[in-house]
Subunit: 206 residues, 2 copies
């Protein structure tokens, strides 16, 4: 376990939990049990550390997800929207093998990235992983060709919002589900709940 990786792991956990702005380098280095100065030695700045934490996941997820979306497009002339969104499930859950709580952590980080830090992370992700977005748009277009580019734009952003918001407050939601309905839901349970919702939303009549 190198110092660099100890920092990445600690940062990931704290960022997911309390946001990027809400987490100090002192908390990170303290949890990682490394010296405060190590962050700046290994990463240069807090901003670069944030990028590094996100990149570790994106580099793992991105090829799997692109492949899954291509498969959906190839498997049928007109796939259902549920099929398109279901393509996300396996690549996302695979992050749990990559790292403990990987799926949940990654989705929470994604949520943070869209609301903390005035969108610098959004810019970083969309410019760094454009083929992923294009693959997704292509799959949705094949499933619902009548949807105009403009309506597609809005609905994909609504979907993004549903997902990242749900995930950034998923701990609270799972707690409520347990208290109010005596139901133990994990992150894959939440994903399965959300798919019919977003599929119906994207597929709403124009």
């Amino acid at each position: 376990m190198t110092t660099k990786n100890r920092i990445l792991d600690a940062a990931e956990k704290l960022f997911a939990d309390k946001g990027f702005n809400g987490t100090s380098l002192r908390e990170i280095t303290s949890l990682a049990e490394v010296n405060l100065a190590a962050v700046n030695y290994h990463f240069g700045s807090k901003k670069e550390l944030i990028k590094a934490v996100m990149s570790r996941y994106m580099n793992e997820l991105s090829p799997n997800l692109e492949l899954a979306l291509t498969n959906v497009c190839d498997s049928s002339d007109k796939p259902s929207l549920v099929a398109v969104f279901s393509a996300f499930v396996e690549p996302l859950l695979a992050l749990n093998h990559f790292k403990e709580n990987g799926t949940s952590n990654f989705l929470q980080l994604l949520g943070r990235g869209y609301t903390d830090s005035q969108g610098f992370l959004r810019w970083f992700l969309t410019t760094r992983y454009p083929t992923l977005i294009n693959g997704f748009v292509a799959a949705v277009h094949k499933a619902y060709p009548e949807l105009s580019a403009e309506d597609m734009f809005w609905r994909l952003h609504f979907t993004m919002g549903t997902i990242v918001f749900t995930m950034s407050s998923s701990d609270a939601l799972m707690d409520i589900a347990k208290n109010d309905f005596d139901r133990n839901v994990d992150i894959s349970g939440v994903i399965k709940q959300v798919i019919p919702y977003v599929a119906a939303g994207v597929g709403a009549p124009i």
Copy 2:
């Protein structure tokens, strides 16, 4: 224009823009052109200032929205989900008469409140305005009685997510819509785009 109101107005604008954590009291008092110490004199703490900013809107919105939801329930034995969500439009847009950019500011603040500050604002709002949530749940239940309490819970939170996320990044989204589609969309345009989406999502087959 009292000092207290100058602070509230400045805080509202900055909070909506950069989040609660991302805004310092110095920025607020500087924009309001009042002394730094005035915040603690009038509100006691930053946390209380946040509550005061939100309460000003909630006290304006809450009775109108409750009435609109009651009207939907009374108007039909089985209202459509689009009708239920459309009940939000007028009370929300009325905030623009209450204050310049009121609708947009309020919705962005709501979005911030769910992601910044580890949910203390969520707690404040749900315990302070429970009848609002009950009225909404009752309306959705009348529109879609087959939906179980548990599915209802999830879908309402997904909807909350769609709305607050969209609104907390609505400035960016409206910019993109203008650049990519040469379309000027204002906040009421965004609301009209999102209603079919959330109505279809909540109404998705079980």
